[in-house]
Amino acid sequence: MHVFFRGLLSLFKGMKITWYYLVHPSTVVTQQYPENRATLKLADRVRAQLAFNYDENGFHKCTSCHICEEACPNASIHVIDRPKPAIAKNELDHFIWRLDSCTFCNLCVLVCPFQVLKMNPTFESSVFDQRLLVYNLTTYAGATGPVLMKQPDAEARNKLIEPRSVYDGPTALEGYHLAGIPPGLYEPTSTTGVPK
């Protein structure tokens, strides 16, 4: 009998807790996501999207050293460079970042010797087509910033710059051509991901 009533009491105790939360609407923790976009602030360090650091002139410092590509554990970064006779070195042509295989481990950012890369807290990157998860991060292909800054002559500077169509979003992979990569530079993989 004693056990019975103690058991009953334990049930009421549990009901007391749930009752408390029912009558205290301030305890609700639900976030109304698309509606609260204005107030939803993610922490600065949140890693959700890889991006380039551009200076105020719109130049980046990437020297196309491929260290980030080496450091990436799952081959999500593909640095494509091209010869640049003006500086007698290779320079960055395309910086391909594959969000679909990225694990946001931040190693590319950590190893970059020139702090070109950063992780942004912009998280709304869902798309309907997986191929759209391949990003070309260089919005501007041309000589690197420092090289250009050394050229005082505007004419000569313009010659170093090869203007490309301004990149404004992700580009599809199953043709790298959408990212502006000429055919033959890279043999695209088959749909299964197995190299030909």
């Binding site: 749930t18 029912l22 609700v28």
Partner: protein, 369 residues
């Protein structure tokens, strides 16, 4: 539905709406009345289920520090309509190697049983579809049919989880039917009638739950537990037990057929709660306290329909509160609770009630008017 056996069913109040001796004079009118009654019941049933689903989702959400549905309409008030529309238009998937006929029949059987049970419930002195003189008996007989639908659904799905769920449901519902009937019998003894309206009128001077101090309360307690088990709700939701049986007997149902099971479940909740309200909480009788005549008059001002709705809502809320607080029992514990605890208590309780009546030591009357 109720047109056949006039000898059994007396005083169909629906006929009074239609006017005069509609049953005998104009057969087509009677037919129209039956059709109208059915339509009304089904409409009422769907509406109630929708409201209950919405209420359950909202209440559960707030128990759990959530908001629940918020998107469709103001605070998600149209969510149930959106959901039912979705269920209407969903593909009805029938697994191969199932017994197609029984698979289709099972949800219909479930809904039919609840529909039949629902018509006996009087909502207020003036609103009742079929106020029979064997109301209690009819209700307990008909509500037992629902388990057939569950058993058939589980069996015909050709899925072992479904079968397990159906078997659990069968064992559980049949067992708890006994306790439920025993607790109902106590009230029937007190009231001396099986007619719902008479039972309610017998409580004009005090509700059965406290007019007989201990016996009534024990009967109510047993009724509460066994009705929760009857309608497969936590802590007795073993038939569905999603963490054990994925979804139990309705694992293989989708679309409209699933909606029918869902409908039946919530209507059963409504029926069980209104039965509790009718038998133990005085139906539409207002709440009176002894000789506080001012208070009693104030209470009388509230219309009986509202009283009934309030009591039913209270019981439904209690059921939801229990559901969202407690874990599930195990199947053998469930059976032990019934056969070793509830059944003996119920039997003893019934015997005591009978003795009380025989010895004419009538009840501790709360408010002798």
């Amino acid at each position: 539905m109720s047109s056949g056996s006039n000898s059994l069913i007396q005083g169909v109040s629906l006929s009074q709406w239609v006017g005069g001796n509609a049953w005998t004079d104009t057969p087509w009118l009677a037919f129209a009345a039956v059709l109208g009654g059915t339509a009304l019941t089904i409409g009422f049933m769907s509406l109630t289920a929708m409201v209950l689903v919405y209420a359950e989702r909202k209440i559960a959400a707030h128990f759990q520090c959530r908001l629940g549905p918020m998107r469709v309409g103001w605070h998600g008030i149209l969510q149930s309509i959106a959901d039912s529309l979705k269920l209407f238009f969903k593909e009805d998937i029938v697994p191969t190697n199932t017994d197609h006929l029984l698979h289709a029949l099972a949800p219909a059987l479930c809904v039919m049983a609840t529909l039949l049970a629902l018509i006996t419930i009087p909502l207020s002195p003036s609103i009742s579809i079929a106020n029979m003189n064997i109301g209690v008996l009819f209700l307990s007989a008909v509500s037992g049919l629902g388990v057939l639908g569950i058993l058939l659904g589980g069996w015909s799905s050709n899925n072992k989880w479904s079968l397990l769920g159906a078997m659990r449901a069968g064992a559980q519902i049949i067992s708890y039917e006994i306790s439920m009937t025993l607790s109902i019998l106590v009230v029937v003894l007190f009231a001396g009638s099986m007619k719902f309206s008479t039972i309610i009128e017998s409580q004009a001077t005090g509700w059965w739950i406290w007019r007989v101090p201990v016996v009534g309360f024990v009967a109510f307690f047993i009724f509460l537990i066994s009705s929760t088990a009857e309608i497969n709700r936590t802590p007795f939701d073993l038939a569905e037990g999603e963490s054990e049986l994925t979804a139990g007997f309705h694992t293989e149902y989708s679309g409209l057929r699933f909606a029918m099971f869902f409908l039946a479940e919530y209507i059963n909740l409504f029926i069980a709660s209104s039965l509790g309200a009718i038998l133990f909480l005085g139906g539409w009788m207002p709440f009176h306290i002894g000789h506080f005549s001012t208070f009693n008059h104030l209470m009388d001002l509230i219309p009986p329909g509202i009283w009934f709705a309030m009591k039913v809502c209270g019981l439904i809320f209690l059921s939801m509160w229990i559901r969202w607080t407690f874990p599930r029992l195990r199947v053998d514990q469930l059976m032990r609770l019934e056969w070793k605890i509830l059944l003996p208590i119920g039997l003893v309780n019934l015997a005591i009630a009978a003795c009380l009546i025989l010895s004419e030591y009538y009840f501790f009357v709360w408010n002798p008017l």
